[in-house]
Symmetry: C2
Subunit: 207 residues, 2 copies
DNA sequence: CGATACCAAGCAAGCGCTTGGTTTGTAAAC
DNA sequence: GTTTACAAACCAAGCGCTTGCTTGGTATCG
């Protein structure tokens, strides 16, 4: 299953919005604005202007501004969970599964859904507590993929540290790439960066 | 040189504010509020109430709200650069230097200056661009300590990945601990966590 | 007496969101 | 194939509130 097929499947199940539809376009612009200026600094007037409507008209689609933030986060997690699942399933060995996860998360953070992923990381506190609980529930599915893979490597004696600590470290490290990694400026490719991260943990490429 | 001596030296040089003075107390409360609620959600009325004065009186000490944010960041970097420098100087080998840096940064992030460090990471975008440049300059001194140590390990063949990538990964990973590491809840101690991080990079403890 | 630290009051601007009404898309009724 | 009905999508205007910051004046203290 390739990425765009996964996206289409989720759209037809109404789990994520079609990026061509009105709702999907707004969420995409919202993600970009939230990342660039932060949730609080982004006004409903900014959001409305980004899709070419009046600020009041936003509230026909969403009841509150926060509901927009939540929608960005929920849909992003849904999409990325599906992408991660596919990446894991396609890899045969534990080490290759880990590499696939690292590579997939780097792609989420720095590729198409990068804006939304950055929002997920940096705007967490702007989400009301009740909403946080809902999103956390979705995140657990996502995290289990990582922990299962790391646990397997640990069993094989290829990993010295505890899986849950490693996962948390990787979460921070991978999310942080959004602040400095600029593939378009030449230098490191996504695969090259993935290799570096694996090497940092003592996994030489292609073993 | 122990931590509190370093702090006192910086205070007497007027590089950081005395936490017992009016300015220092405000900066401490500001760091806490900025971390807990975010810069934008923290009002000048919140800040004033935290130190028991009227909101208008704040502007006797700082010209703008943003100046408070900048002061929190600048003083935090100054203090932590000094702490890191001491940690590196005290360690004999490269690996021990790295461990000392990891340990020191974990302590910065999760200890006394934890609130301010979290602000440094998560409220970066709230700082006006001119101020960002000033703070970045200070950060470079700090970063050089890391890069020199990592470069030495690389030379010794103990590190497979490139130093600058490793440093950026560690920045993300170590900063991120602030979102999940809770030593008071039992479980992992700071030293234990440091060991785990070293182990993750293939450095077994005590070698 | 002068500087420093503060208070009480409030201004101008910007915020999220509401309101009442108009346009647009769609599909059945004639 | 035009008319009618109706909901969804949107606009124009603005309300009520909060925001960062200012102002003019008053304590406090060396």
């Amino acid at each position: 299953m390739n990425p765009s097929k996964i996206l289409n499947a989720l759209i037809s199940e109404n789990l994520v919005s079609d990026p061509n539809g009105a709702r999907g376009r707004l969420l995409k612009e919202a993600a970009r604005l939230f990342r660039d200026k932060g949730y609080e600094r982004t006004t409903v007037r900014d959001l409305a202007a980004a899709v070419g409507i009046q600020s009041g008209s936003l509230f026909h689609h969403f009841r509150t501004k926060e509901e927009i933030l939540k929608a960005v986060m929920v849909e992003t997690i849904r999409l990325n969970t599906a992408l991660m699942q596919a990446a894991v399933d396609a890899a045969p060995t534990s080490q290759e599964k880990l590499r696939a996860l690292v590579r997939a998360e780097l792609e989420s953070v720095n590729g198409q859904t990068g804006e939304a992923m950055a929002v997920l990381v940096f705007e967490w506190r702007s989400l009301a507590e009740e909403s946080q609980a809902d999103v956390l529930e979705l995140r657990d599915i996502y995290e289990k993929l990582w922990l299962d893979t790391l646990e397997a490597l640990r069993q094989e004696g290829r990993l010295l540290a505890e899986p849950f600590v490693v996962r948390r470290m990787l979460t921070g490290a991978l999310s942080w790439t959004v602040t400095w990694y600029r593939p378009e400026r030449g230098g490191l490719t996504l695969d090259g960066l993935t290799d570096q991260i694996m090497a940092m943990m003592g996994f030489a490429p292609g073993i």
